[in-house]
């Protein structure tokens, strides 16, 4: 230890690399793609070359051209504009749903882990039972019952993925809960809200955020699936899944109208997976 040059230990910039938060290249590409889609979802609507719902071309399933960068759809609408706008629905709905699911799930999971006893057993059993419903099916049933609108979609998707987030957070929080510093805090007489906020949450945050990313992917997949079945975002609006559905007839023509929305979905889900898989271990496995 004494042989370490003093200058090095004395002055270290708090860059991500020095803090142990460095990403490898696969992770960086993933992150770049995620940021790209986030920017598109936020600002894309002001950069659409044509009005989103307007027929600009009287020919349907047009090819790629200088005018229409991603071709035109089955009604002759500009696909590039519709993909930009679709990002808003796909990313927005999935983000809202995953935030809701993870917030509720993680808070409940931490409470269950800290309180324990019958509350924990009952809640865990009950939420595990909900995992016994296949996710797409749950969406189908709810949409059949109450019809499809964006709030319904967000709430349904959140309800589908909340039990998983609960289970994950609870498992992590149970481990933290047995640690000495929590016992000490409890002996000090701290109440449950303090324990959850100050002792448990900071120690499970990394893995929970990684889990949030994976859950985001599942939600995008189910949302696209629902929209593809015609039960998600309703026309004239369209998320990426609905764009694929609308233009599925163009598949046999190899139309870009059906290919580009598919690429958009795949690039989003794969990049999130790439990013999460390559998160620095310091974030991912902090609790282990």
């Amino acid at each position: 230890m004494t042989t370490t040059p003093r200058t090095k230990s004395k002055f270290r910039l708090p860059t991500p690399h020095n803090m142990g938060y460095a990403f490898n290249w696969t992770g960086r590409i993933g992150l770049a793609l995620i940021l790209f889609w986030a920017v598109v979802a936020m600002f894309g609507r002001w950069f659409t070359p044509y009005p989103v719902g307007a027929r600009v071309d009287w020919d349907y399933f047009g090819g790629i051209s200088a005018e229409y960068w991603m071709g035109t759809d089955y009604l002759g609408r500009d696909i590039f504009s519709r993909v930009l706008m679709g990002a808003r629905y796909t990313v927005g709905i999935a983000l809202a749903a995953v935030t809701l699911a993870c917030t509720i799930g993680v808070v409940l999971g931490m409470i269950a882990a800290v309180i324990g006893g019958w509350f924990d057993t009952l809640l865990s059993r009950f939420l595990d039972a909900f995992n016994g419903i296949p996710s797409l099916l749950f969406g189908l049933v709810v949409v059949a019952a109450v019809g499809s609108s964006i709030p319904v979609l967000v709430l349904t998707l959140a309800a589908i993925y909340m039990p998983g987030a609960y289970r994950f957070a609870r498992a992590l929080a149970v481990n933290i809960n047995t640690m000495d510093f929590v016992t000490v805090a409890r002996a000090r007489g701290e109440a449950t809200p303090y324990l959850i906020r100050r002792e448990i949450l900071p120690n499970i945050l990394g893995p929970v955020l990684a889990d949030l990313g994976l859950r985001f992917v599942f939600i995008v997949l189910v949302l696209s699936g629902l929209s593809f079945l015609g039960l998600g975002v309703q026309p004239p609006n369209a998320d990426w899944g609905a764009l694929v559905r609308e233009n599925i007839e163009g598949l046999s023509l190899g139309a870009p109208a059906v290919i580009f929305p598919s690429i958009a979905i795949a690039s989003l889900t794969i990049s999130v997976n790439m990013f999460i898989d390559n998160l620095p271990t310091k974030i991912r496995d902090r609790a282990e």
Binding site: I133, V146, V217, G254, I270
Partner: protein
Amino acid sequence: MLRSPTTWLLVGQRLGIAFITLIIVSFAVFFATELLPGDVAQILLGQAATPEAVAGLREAMGLDEPAIQRFIGWLTGLAQGDMGRSYVNDIEVAELVGGRLQNSLRLAGIVTLICVPVALSLGILAAMFRGSWMDRAVSTATISVISVPEFMVATLSVLIFAVWLDWLPALSYGVDVDSLGAMLRAYAMPVITLSFVVSAQMIRMTRAAVIETIETPYVEMALLKGASRTRMVLVHALPNALGPIANAVALSLSYLVGGVIIVETVFNYPGVAKLMVDAVATRDLPLIQSCAMIFCVSYLSLTTLADMIAILSNPRLRQ
């Protein structure tokens, strides 16, 4: 192994949990389809109906009774095979579902027969030669299939096999099914798509299960004493990994349930899932309930089966 009381206790416990789960799931389905939409009598008669007509129908359908009583009535009816009548065409739901269920099961059966051998060998090989180009190719392929929606796998296979190569028809049931060749062609696209989705899951889980066993000290010991890599995996590791692998197979087959909904719709395959998606469009609630229950029960049976295999194959429970 089968005499051990601990094992049977755990199996019994797991079955009990499955039963409770089934009750909760059926309540969720009932709640979503009967209580969320509001007044079913009003929906059936439409906006123009007189209040008297709505009240009359409500009484005739037993909608006046408290929800919990209706739920128990519905559940006991379901258990006895009485699925109710379709709102749309007033046919017994059981009659509508019967033939469709056979079609869906046939599809699932064929997919299982193809997937299990292919996925198991690929998964075990990938684990055996971990880090090789073969492993990396298989892992990349499975991750790509898993991280895109099922309908994209479907559209991509249509694009490749029907549009570019022109080997198969894009739709499964527009064609006549009179000869063996025609039948093969009709089933090919749905089977290919589902097989991709299910085997991707199965390969990943199998690979993980085998790798977990390979990393145990006794397998490393086998390698150190000079056993070949093949011998190490096939003779030493595999017998202990059989339980987790069987668990993985049952678990990944549960992905059939989600996949089949998309695949039957894309290819117009006359199965339960297509029936259900059509019923959603017409809001035929009794039909949706029954189809949803069929899917939930199959999903639940597969996940329960997976857990049971895990319990029964755990050597630590043999006394």
